[in-house]
Amino acid sequence: MFELIPPAVFMIVAALLIGPARGHLRTAIVLAAPLITLWFVWQVPDGVAYTVPFLDYQIQPLEGSALRRLFATIFALMAFVGGLYAFRQAKWYELAAAYAYAAGAIGVSFAGDLITLFLFWELMALFSTVVVWCGGTKEARQAGVRYAIMHLLGGVILKVGIEGVVVHTGSIDIQPMLATNFDTWMMLTGILINAAAPPVSAWLADSYPSSSATGSVFLSAFTTKTAVLALILLFPGEPVLIGIGLFMVMYGIIYALLENDIRRILAYSIVNQVGFMVCAIGIGTEMALNGAAAHAFAHIIYKALLFMSAGVVVYRTGLNRCTDVGGLFRTMPLTAVCGIIGALAISGFPLTSGFTTKTMISQAAANESLVFVYMMLAAASAGVFLHAGIKFPWFVFFQRDSGLRPKDAPWNMGVAMVIFSVLCILLGVAPGLLYQFLPYPVEYEAYTPGKVLFYLQLLMFSGLAFFLLLPLMKRTETISLDSDWLWRVLLFRFGSWIYGLLAATGRSVAAAASAVLSAASGVATRYLGTPAGDDRPGVFARTWPIGVTALWIAVLLTTYVFIYYF
């Protein structure tokens, strides 16, 4: 059946073909494959499409639902626009890795059972590492190794959880559960590592900004959002997630405020935005889950747009830091405008996609009378405007005249940014376009005058705070310690200490051994003599008078008689 080719498999084949293909054929594959995949995504029916026997299990590699198609759609769309953005600038192996990575994300979206989910999960870990390495610098290489370790560790933890659930329940189905025992906690932990939850959030801001200008666009989209999807499928309404989500929201803001690296600011704001979604999943009502799904969809678009805008700056100037750039709006108007649209969307400004999706989450919190959650989310909305909405465009495109006059975006990067900019506004103006594809029926009115006014007040006064507090936010050429300090420095020191300890132990053991050996050799020399047979043979090698021998035999016999007698 032609319609039922799994979209992920098609995408993997496309990724494999990018390498051997050359010239226009390669371009055609890069641009057409995600669109054809998108078509396949929409051919996936509700429910399990087919099963495959594997060991003792019935694997369900393809299961459709509104939620799964929604995520697969945005992943395929992201691959297309990302491919368009990157195909003239990125190396072919970066494109191939990025497409295989996207295939993993699409595969997770349609995974009908835990085994399939795990396989595609690892596919993502593998190829996203390659994308990080494609940054090509020493930092990228090192960050890639740390990234790989973190994700392989996360994969192992997830696998432990899956094994436990399969053994104890006998079912490999993906179904809602709560973190109540060891197995489910392990699964939740494994997924949360990919969602960049505390205490390991640092992997994200460590690795993504080290990748290439084009690579970070792909990286921003898939890993954290598949984790969001997995959480919606497996742990809706898990109360722990509310607290974790709120922490991520605030962590992202605070660290982004401290940061000087352009793309690291955006990386921290991914954690911030995923925090909104994780919190919504913790609330777990139909409206909250709708909000999480819608927000993930909108987020991928505006976050990729922001990374594209930053990517053009990095590509054109080779500079990564706020302190090095500024005033770029003069010669990069398109990049600046698209960056600003993305910044407004992430801030949830009315008429952008962020407003129509993020307020849904706040509304869900209000409906459940979660005062604290609602207030924190409102404060965070103001904070997002502060750290990403204004800070990013201000320091990159305005701030001061750095004297740089780089050219604007190459045409393909420009077109990609325009497509996502239009989508940001389209989903903000006509939210019904997205709402109809959400997993549950939407009974939510985004644009009520009161709500718009409330958020405008919140955001505009946050803007006022930004410009009044600008002296406090002067960029410094620093990095900020994050939880990765624990393993990059503390664990390293601990390891060095253990190594030193072992080395010292080894040395003293060796010394003792050689002392014992030389003592033994002394004894042996005394009784047996040296092998070369020098002037004075060992005790047993000497010639003894016959009388001494007779005496010893007499002693021996006497002893024997005594033993026999008694």
Binding site: R141, Q142, V145, M250, I253, I254, L257, L258, G327, F329, R330, A366, S369, V371, Y374, M375, A378, A379, A382, G383, L386, R400, D401, S402, G403, T448, P449, G450, K451, L453, F454, Y455, L456, Q457, L458, L459, M460, F461, S462, G463, L464, A465, F466, L469, L472, M473, T476, E477, T478, I479, S480, L481, D482, R488, V489, F492, R493
Partner: protein
Amino acid sequence: MNKPQHDDYWLARPSTIKLLWRVFAVVLVLLVLAQVLIYVKGYFGVDGWFGFGAAYGFLSCLVMVLFAKALGYVLKRSEDYYDDGADDV
């Protein structure tokens, strides 16, 4: 900051910036006053107060910036912090 360069781009002129500040101030005042006409539904009482969004937005940003600033004194390190051989792969 760089020394001020000759820059006649309209958006960078001091007069434009002054104008932008004035427009911004007017918008801010209007946004608060608009609450006389537009009912903002409060879910928990306090969030329906007059100008709550404005005050809350401003104050929460103030708190976050100050908190980040304070945290910065503890967490900020020079950019080559991880480069001193402690982190070689």
